[in-house]
């Protein structure tokens, strides 16, 4: 993945983080929704809701066979190894925060191999399930769009870094 591609991916990911934040008037306007309506939808999906939070914004909640505490601990350990500090007011698997970690790695000098393996280790097993849950519960499709875009970007990063990794190995 070349530097420009990394920067573009990072920028797109940062957009997604902003959209996953608590709604603002500007976002509501862009969705052609009243702010109160968007706020109530956001609360239902991510904060508290009828029948429980519909789509918890925590990656570990979408893992099928793994222990969430273990996943969080491993991810947190990985971040520290990379010299990245994460906000301790959120569980380490808070999806917007995980996306920002990726943004930070893309913005740095992470090798393609590192990017490929971090995607494989921490960003592969939950995004589709997150998007699928949102498909079920997000009746206006705002956050489904965000989740699907996230899946697309992650696939792209993985693919491009896999090719880079293979190419580098071939060159070597």
């Amino acid at each position: 993945m070349i530097a420009e591609e990394k920067q573009e991916a990072a920028q797109r990911l940062l957009e997604l983080v902003a959209l996953l934040e608590y709604p603002t008037l500007e976002v509501a306007d862009r969705c052609d929704l009243k702010f109160e309506d968007l706020e109530s939808r956001y609360i239902r999906l991510f904060v508290n809701s009828l029948g429980g939070v519909a789509a918890p914004p925590y990656a570990g909640c979408f893992l099928e066979k793994e222990n969430r505490l273990e996943f969080m601990s491993q991810f947190s350990g990985f971040c520290l190894e990379q010299g990245v500090a994460i906000d301790q007011a959120q569980p380490p698997d808070y999806i917007p925060m995980m996306v920002e970690v990726l943004v930070m790695l893309l913005s740095g000098d992470a090798e393609p191999e590192t990017l490929y393996s971090v995607i494989a280790d921490f960003y592969c097993r939950w995004p589709e399930a997150f998007a699928s849950t949102l498909r079920e519960h997000d009746d206006v499709g705002i956050y489904v769009t965000v989740a699907e875009e996230l899946c697309a970007i992650l696939r792209e990063i993985k693919t491009k870094n896999a090719s880079s990794t293979v190419a580098e190995r071939a060159d070597g």
Binding site: Q7, A10, Q11, E15, L16, V17, A18, Y22, E26, V27, R30, C31, D32, E36, E39, S40, I43, V47, N48, S49, L50, G51, G52, V53, P56, Y58, R68, L69, E70, M72, S73, Q74, S76, G77, C79, L80, G83, V84, A85, I86, Q88, A89, Q90, P91, P92, Y94, P96, M97, E100, V101, V103, M104, L105, S107, G108, V140, I142, T145, V146, E149
Partner: protein, 731 residues
């Protein structure tokens, strides 16, 4: 409605700026790690104490890369017996629960509709203050129109009481009125204290309804059941885990424990088996008791209790002849209208056998005295007594009595209650007769709930304020009294997640939005911080706070001195300074000076007595929604005896409807079993939540508050949990 990708996914975030990890613009949650953060990479252990039940077992929390991995028992903490139960272990997950209350929330829809908006702390406080001050003004400045509710377990509760006191309302309600106040009163009237049974050293233990193997006070269970030489007599309408472990089990008729105890006294005194020296030297009123219990023969008791007369005689003789035998005073909710007298009768069995202040018997608790938390009081000209002041003989002014208080609050008798401030207690699921609680809630102008989870009570509140989880807070030292007393502490394993606050900060912040009659902001009554208070509490023990921080507990090695009361070194805390078998105090208040059995009522045909009880993996209504525990029991079911079920055509797994005499209903699945008397029904607590934000228990099974009727006994004010008569039918 559809959103186009192009329109939605555009330009919200700030530009990235230049590349390089240390200078990425627009990041909200991540940054370049500094030494402090890098240190979190290590495995660390933090000593703290559990909050999932009342026992407060000390543990070492293992934190890996800043994430709580597990809670291990602190092996040096003797009270925990080196164990950490299922509930305690399950606590490790609680900070990360996605359904946790994460931010202050203000209701935007109807109560219970589930529509909320996220608020800042100041917004939430201001909203509460505006509503509350309006109500107080409408009530002519009487602050007693606001009721304060709190519960055991958080070491910040004293700050809540402080807030209530400086706010100026006498109306406070705590958990003992739903739990053990009748037990405390019964024992106090006889021994002047509520003692602990020395089960570790007792070779013979009678347990009347105390389900130690499943209850929330678990470590002494190890003492009872790990030594097979101990003889354990279990009286319980259900074949509980304790019954399974006991030497003998008698499915006693609910409400007749007092008859059993009186018959024991009849045999022990009648056959001259009592401890004559102890009675002579330390008891008051033995002759009156001896005359009184002549009427209570084992044959009479057998008809009342369904325990065979021969068994009663045998148990009485064995008990009196076994040095160190103890009739466990119990630690569970009140059962029936004569509960204080039943506890007195049990206390008297111990007393006449000298099973007080001796090894194996009842031992008065001692504590490690800490410096008191001092604060200036606020003075008000406008004061009124608490609502139910005249309804209960021995009303604890801080605990109150839920049932009569609620009844008066609904009627506005003698004055209206317009708001409820609730700290931790899950009123909706815990106070009997949920319909009445809902009626009370409907009358409230403002309901504030402070909790860590969206309990049924929080769900029905107007404002929910999120307290930090017990694994995230520093809680000041807390004294645990007992035969071997300790002081425990809580320390944060991780920093508080989300926008939550520890109790002290939360309460002080709320206080800042109110003033007293002189215009002084109520937060000015709160001085220092929890760390400072911790140092003050422990100031008499050099090195004590350091030991607390290192080990999670403090002891100076003291233990209750057995024999201190017999030798006269300590004085029995009754008016006669003797163990009072005959209570002149009760007599002077128009109460029976001796326990008079008045029957436990007849259950009409086709009706059942509903009994409450514990479950081995749950604490009240708190833990059923913990995933690790819920996995073991996703739903509760009503126990019905096989023969009764057959008569009614009920099969295992059938959905049934329980109906009480006051309109309470519960739909629940049937569990057909031999493990309960044919005239009783039971289900575990904690399910059937009204909160749709507790998905694992919302609509699953039933909660006891749905079916329990409103009854209380007027000596201690305790709610009566075994006075509910129900019908059951298949639906």
């Amino acid at each position: 409605m559809s959103i186009t990708r192009r329109k939605f996914l555009k330009g919200t975030a700030a530009g990235l700026g230049c590349l390089g990890m240390s200078s990425v613009a627009g990041l909200r949650y991540v940054s370049k790690a500094h030494a402090e953060e890098l240190a979190a990479q290590k495995v660390k252990y933090v000593a703290s104490s559990c909050a999932i039940c009342t026992n407060k077992c000390v543990f070492r929390g293992q934190v890996v890369n800043g994430v709580i991995k597990r809670l291990e028992p602190q092996p040096e903490f003797a009270k925990g017996r080196g164990m950490m139960c299922a509930r305690g272990n399950a606590g490790a997950w609680t900070p990360y629960d996605p359904n946790r209350v994460k931010y202050p929330m203000i209701r935007t829809g109807k109560r219970g509709e589930g529509k909320w908006k996220k608020a800042t702390w100041d917004e939430a406080y201001a909203y509460i203050a505006e509503k509350t001050n309006k109500v107080v003004e409408e009530e002519g400045g009487h602050r007693s129109c606001i009721g304060f509710v709190s519960s055991e377990g958080t070491y910040h509760e004293h700050y809540w009481h402080q807030f209530r006191e400086v706010f100026g309302s006498p109306n406070t309600l705590r958990h003992p009125g739903l739990c053990l106040s009748s037990n405390i009163r019964g024992n106090m009237s006889v021994f002047g204290t509520y003692p602990t049974a020395d089960v570790k050293n007792s070779p013979y233990i009678i347990l009347a309804g105390a389900d130690r193997a499943e209850a929330i006070f678990t470590p002494d269970t190890m003492d009872m059941f790990s030594d097979r030489s101990k003889k354990i007599i279990c009286l319980d309408p259900r074949f509980t885990k304790t019954a399974a472990k006991a030497t003998e089990w008698y499915p006693i008729k609910p409400g007749s424990d007092m008859a059993f105890a009186l018959a024991l006294l009849h045999v022990i005194i009648g056959e001259n088996l009592y401890d004559k020296d102890f009675v002579r030297d330390h008891c008051e009123g033995f002759d009156q008791l001896a005359r009184h219990v002549k009427q209570y023969t084992p044959q009479w008791a057998a008809a009342e209790t369904d325990v065979p007369a021969e068994a009663i005689q045998k148990i009485a003789r064995e008990f009196a002849k076994t040095p160190g035998a103890v009739f466990y005073p119990g630690r569970r909710s009140g059962w029936h209208g004569q509960d204080v007298h039943a506890r007195r009768a049990i206390a008297m069995v111990n007393a006449v056998c000298g099973s007080f202040d001796r090894e194996g018997g009842l031992i008065p608790n001692i504590s490690i005295p800490l410096k008191s938390y001092f604060y200036e009081p606020a003075w008000y000209d406008l004061t009124r007594p608490r609502l139910e002041a005249d309804d209960v003989t021995f009303l604890n002014p801080r605990d109150g009595s839920w049932i009569p208080w609620r009844e008066r609050a609904i009627k506005g008798d003698p004055y209206p209650i317009r708001g409820l401030f609730i700290y931790k207690q899950n009123v909706v699921d815990s106070v009997p007769d949920r319909n009445m609680t809902m009626e009370l809630f409907d009358k409230m102008d403002i309901i504030v709930s402070i909790d860590t989870f969206m309990s049924s009570t929080a769900w029905l509140a107007d404002v929910v304020l999120p307290e930090s989880n017990y694994l995230e807070r520093f809680d000041a030292p807390y004294g645990l009294s007992g035969i071997e007393p300790f002081v425990v502490i809580r320390q944060p394993l991780i920093k508080p997640l989300y926008d939550t606050r520890p109790g002290f900060d939360l309460i002080k912040g709320l206080a800042a939005h109110f003033e007293d009659e002189d215009g002084i902001s109520l937060d000015e009554y709160f001085e220092g911080d929890v760390e400072q208070h911790a140092r003050d509490f422990m100031s008499d023990y050099p090195g004590g706070l350091e030991m607390l921080k290192e080990k999670g507990f403090f002891t100076d090695g003291r233990k209750a001195e057995i024999g201190a009361y017999r030798s006269g070194k300590s004085t029995i805390n009754t008016s006669t300074q003797k163990v009072e078998l005959y209570s002149a105090d009760f007599e002077s208040r128009g109460l029976d000076p001796l326990p008079v059995y008045r029957g436990c009522g007849v259950i009409p045909k086709d009706r059942f007595r509903f009994v409450v009880g514990r479950h081995a993996i749950h604490t009240h209504s708190m833990t059923a929604a913990f995933p690790d525990l819920n996995w073991h029991m996703p739903e509760n079911s009503v126990w019905i005896n096989t023969a009764s079920a057959k008569e009614l055509g009920i099969k295992p797994g059938d959905m049934v409807l329980l109906t009480n005499r006051t309109g309470g209903e519960a739909r629940i699945k049937a569990q057909v079993t031999e493990a309960i008397r044919p005239d009783c029904l039971y289900f575990a607590h904690g399910y059937g939540s009204m909160s749709k934000d507790q998905p694992l228990v919302f609509g699953k099974g039933a909660t006891q508050s749905q079916i329990l009727e409103s009854h209380y006994e007027s000596i201690s004010g305790n709610a009566m949990m075994h006075e509910t008569i129900v019908e059951i039918r298949k639906v």
